[in-house]
């Protein structure tokens, strides 16, 4: 669930992650500077256009990722409706949609390891101060790995429970799931060591 990188190949996949992030920053700043409904509508149309370049299926996938935003859009509109400033509400809502959709576009078309590399590049000045930055990069990658794997392992464990019990598992699986997660972390640590771990930077 976390590697949101889309399997649909797009022209954006080929662009450098750093360039995409820089463009995203600039565009987001611009979105916050602009302050009219017309500008925001235009911005949204432009973003939709960017998605469409990669095809309808990709646009559809992008809309799927926007799901959590609609709740806030509704909230913002309702709030501003109550306070009587619907124009401001519309601008904020449209800006939110455009900003999140743009950020998602970068996420969907960049491999996570490329993004991390950009972060590591950003951290590289710290290295001159004697800070070991390699473990930070690993830690980021590992969190992203652990989230889906933890859910997967929990699912497997619940399957193991279901194979032998008609009842739904309850709190009794909290400890087993924790153990599986901790064991997994220990295995990953060993697998890292087997291929050099952090001593290689």
């Amino acid at each position: 669930m976390l590697t949101l990188t889309s399997e649909i190949r797009t022209p954006y996949h080929r662009l450098r992650a750093g360039a995409k992030l820089a463009a995203l920053c600039a565009a987001t700043v611009a979105l916050f500077v602009l302050d009219s409904v017309a500008a925001m509508m235009l911005a949204n149309a432009a973003v939709a256009g960017l998605y469409l370049v990669a095809g309808w299926r990709f646009l559809h996938a992008g809309l799927g990722l926007l799901k959590p935003v609609w709740f806030f859009v509704a909230l913002v509109l309702a709030w501003h409706g109550l306070t009587g400033d619907l124009r401001a509400g519309t601008v904020i809502a449209l800006r939110l949609i455009a900003a999140v959709a743009l950020a998602n576009l970068v996420t969907m078309t960049s491999r996570f390891d490329d993004l991390v590399e950009v972060v590591m590049w950003g951290l590289s000045p710290l290295r001159r101060l004697g800070v070991r930055t390699a473990p930070i990069g690993f830690a980021i990658v590992l969190v992203v790995r652990f989230i889906p794997v933890m859910l997967d392992k929990a699912r497997l464990l619940i399957d193991a429970w279901r194979a032998r019990s008609p009842r739904r598992p309850g709190w009794q699986v909290a400890l087993p799931i924790t153990l599986v997660a901790v064991d997994d972390a220990e295995h990953v640590a060993e697998a890292l060591r087997a291929r050099g771990g952090f001593d290689m930077d």
Binding site: V100, L142, V143, F146, A174, L175, L179, A181
Partner: protein, 181 residues
């Protein structure tokens, strides 16, 4: 080194996974979430320094735009919301929880963890949380403090669960409880 970094990453991920437990947002805009238990576990299991690092790692990923906060929120925007005090308080809370845990090395794990989680994960966390609400929601300190009342029962349950889990983990995998290693 690899072990410690992987365990830190694991607990950052654990906080994120706890964010999938449905949250319930009160009128003040502050949600009741299970993530607070993740913060407590970071302290009781990983100890002060590593626990705080795990939380910082989690917050770093949130800032990078991953939707890891309860309800699938993320990005820099959340640091401008009414919960920013709690977000700042999270690593402090994990640190204090872990610090107490490490001070109470002589005591059995369960009571030590309960004590640490209540002081670090509730009392210490509420202070920046309240200050954040004062700043962002334009409340008085008294109003903000009173608005914390609904969280207390839930947070006490979370402290109990965190302590029970820590004690059970200590029994099954003592080497993985870094606060006691």
């Amino acid at each position: 080194m690899e072990r410690q970094v992987t365990l830190i990453a694991l607990f950052a991920a654990l906080i994120a996974v706890l964010g999938l437990v449905p949250k319930f947002t009160l009128a003040s805009g502050i949600p009741i979430t299970a993530q607070g238990m993740g913060i407590m576990l970071c302290g009781t299991i990983l100890g002060a320094r590593r626990g705080a690092l795990a939380v910082l790692l989690f917050l770093g990923l949130v800032a990078l735009g991953l939707p890891l906060l309860a309800g699938g929120r993320g990005g820099l925007g959340v640091f401008a919301g009414p919960t920013v005090g709690f977000l700042i308080g999270f690593p402090i809370a994990a640190f204090v929880t872990g610090w107490i845990m490490e001070r109470m090395r002589g005591a059995p794990v369960f009571p030590a963890a309960i004590c640490a989680a209540v002081i670090g994960g509730i009392l210490v966390l509420y202070i920046p949380g309240i200050l954040g609400m004062v700043a962002m929601l334009d409340l008085t300190v008294t109003q903000a403090t009173l608005s914390m009342a609904p969280f207390i029962p839930g947070d006490l349950i979370k402290a109990g669960l965190a302590a029970a889990l820590t004690a059970a983990l200590y029994k099954a995998r003592p080497a993985s409880v870094l606060s006691r290693a």
